[in-house]
Symmetry: C2
Subunit: 201 residues, 2 copies
Amino acid sequence: MSQVLVEITVSLDGYVTGPNAGPGNGLGDNGEALHTWIFEGTDEDRAALDRSFEQTGAVIQGRRLFDVIDAPDGWNEEMGYGATHEGERKPPIFVVTHEPPATTRLGDRFTFVTDLADAIGQARQAAGDKDVVVMGGGEICHATLAAGLADALVLHVAPVVLGDGTRLFPAGPGPRVDLELTSAVSTPNAQHLTYAVRKSA
Amino acid sequence: MSQVLVEITVSLDGYVTGPNAGPGNGLGDNGEALHTWIFEGTDEDRAALDRSFEQTGAVIQGRRLFDVIDAPDGWNEEMGYGATHEGERKPPIFVVTHEPPATTRLGDRFTFVTDLADAIGQARQAAGDKDVVVMGGGEICHATLAAGLADALVLHVAPVVLGDGTRLFPAGPGPRVDLELTSAVSTPNAQHLTYAVRKSA
């Protein structure tokens, strides 16, 4: 059955990017180490990635992440949901923003929606029986959890300490999330953890 | 061979306590959920705890943690390193503080030392071929990593989001820690992760 997943790679100290993240420096300073599991991973890492691609029917992004992947050094045929996966259709991507760009480098797979809940609704329609994946950045992942819109939280916990950057869970109250571990795969490059969201608010 | 371990339970968002931690509220508001693995754990959780007790030859604490465990609702014969474990001697505990208390509820197992490196040196002597465990709070764990004094980082990652409290890694630069996963055990209550510290500064 279709679920809404918040899925993101996070450092041991809770950052989804290092400092100074932005177009041309998508993961921030020293943040590339977050994605060792993707680019230099083991067979088990690769299986975690493949499973995610296979089950993803639509993707939700925040605007800052979109700007990163639409930049010249962003996604391409080998990287991201823009990559070519044999036999797989590329999932449509819904970008939550109040200011849609006039043009995009990446073409017409992107739909710009002003409201998060609307974006998730449209993504659900597009995904059919596959999952909707809220893939980042940190702010929209957090907002999805805080609004109680996520069925599961999929964390890829990389063995790095970044010290600064974009936090998945900003300091401050909430969201109060009750989580239940449903799957765990350990590799030297990441702990691949899936938690069902029992309640969030 | 004897190692210096930083070992602590941490939430998914990087907190070792909830907000308002202190004597009588050692784990802070909502922080008790961090220790579900200790008090309501599975056999595998229990094995992780037993292994820690068996290998620990001496313990290092910060002063705020000492005040928590020395409080009337703190450690006792059933809880903490003060607990009775058949056949095990209780490890000596070195508390890093500039202001040793005049008396302690818990007696003479505690030595008060003003300097972290000195405390670790004394703990090494006391531990023999067992490990020295820096057990908290967050500040002294972080200081040990930042000073390059830890051989390994043992995290018990609980499936809770606290939102506020004491962070293991405070925001801001460093420590830069290069970690290598050496062991991982997954239970519904915690991910028990051991990382060798390859370099920290």
